[in-house]
Symmetry: C2
Subunit: 187 residues, 2 copies
DNA sequence: GCAAACAAACCTACCGAATGGTATGTTTTT
DNA sequence: AAAAACATACCATTCGGTAGGTTTGTTTGC
């Protein structure tokens, strides 16, 4: 049925499309009830085509998670470059990055993904490794207890936004973000 | 095969057993891949027996969630009674209750449950209503920004413990809890 | 430079296991 | 006798994964 068969091959674009649409499908239907067929349809290929790029559902999900993790990592680097203050630089970038995806509410690709990741050992490992590595890298500037609390609070706020049917108001979020930023500076 | 058929009927106990084992199964395998058969087996009844108590899978899950929510609610009341200080009384109880389940790590019945609840609109509603109601009740004592941050941080810590393969050490948790408690008192 | 051969990128068709749910029977309680 | 508390048997479907085909791209041999 699909013409992907007959059009010129674009493996990279197809792969990207699969990752993006898988994330989106996961958001809309929840990762548990995510189906290969739905992802394939959304990406404009067949299930067979999908399984050519990702040999199993698990592989697909993990790839999406790694993809998002990489994006987060890069975004944090970007934010850190623009921060003149050394103390708490990573923490502020972490908070900012989380507030960015928090604003998107449950529309964010992170929503369903990171949620269901907790039931999956492999994904917990990926996340655990990432955060541990990052904290180690910035141990000299970001290990103060206040900064730890601030990061946890950012996680909590992110979580609260997922739990709410309608996310928090922009004002509310701005206020909270300000409070957290203050926390990272007064030390 | 089972003898539940032939033994004396104990609807209340069976119902309780189903709720408990459903929670436990959800923790072990994740709510998404939770199966009625597994729950029924664990509780020592057949799938038919389970479906007699809970007409559908969704109904079972919601019942478990409501059950846990009720327990949390009662525990918080209990903790609040023993707190002499008025300011931040609810917040401290909230934090303490969350640290209790946090200590259990991913063994806690809350783990998989509350996690997957985010993909379910009905459960988000239940949680949302509970926390909103509670915050309204204690508006005069628990609406200070610092308390809000403290509660969010408690959520974040709880979350972090679920993400880690091995939870935090008892020492680490104790330290964090102390920090949060301080946050609720200096105003 | 140009086929032939090979590999990569898809698609179609199908299978089998798992699972939620139904319908109905049997035993116990009231 | 009626209803509640179970069990047994079965159905319909969904969904992940496999097998093998077809088309497109790339490399190799001459």
């Amino acid at each position: 049925m699909s013409e992907a068969h007959r059009r010129e091959k674009q493996p990279e674009q197809v792969r990207r499309s699969l990752l993006d649409h898988a994330a989106q499908c996961a958001v809309e239907q929840g990762l548990g009830s995510l189906t290969l067929q739905a992802v394939a349809d959304a990406a404009g290929v067949t299930k067979g085509g999908l399984l050519h790029h990702f040999p199993s559902k698990q592989a697909l999900i993990e790839a999406v998670f790694e993809d998002l993790l990489t994006m987060l990592d890069e975004e944090i680097d970007r934010l850190m470059e623009r921060d003149p203050l050394e103390h708490g630089r990573f923490t502020r970038a972490y908070i900012d990055a989380f507030f960015q995806v928090t604003q998107d509410g449950s529309k964010s690709p992170w929503a369903a993904l990171s949620i269901s990741s907790m039931t999956d050992a492999r994904m917990r490992e990926l996340w655990s490794q990432w955060i541990c590595g990052r904290l180690e890298r910035h141990a000299t500037t970001d290990s103060h207890p206040s900064l730890q609390i601030a990061r946890y609070a950012a996680d909590g706020i992110w979580l609260a936004n997922l739990m709410k049917l309608d996310g928090m108001s922009a004002n509310e979020l701005a206020g909270l973000r300000n409070d957290l930023e203050t926390l990272t500076k007064h030390a």
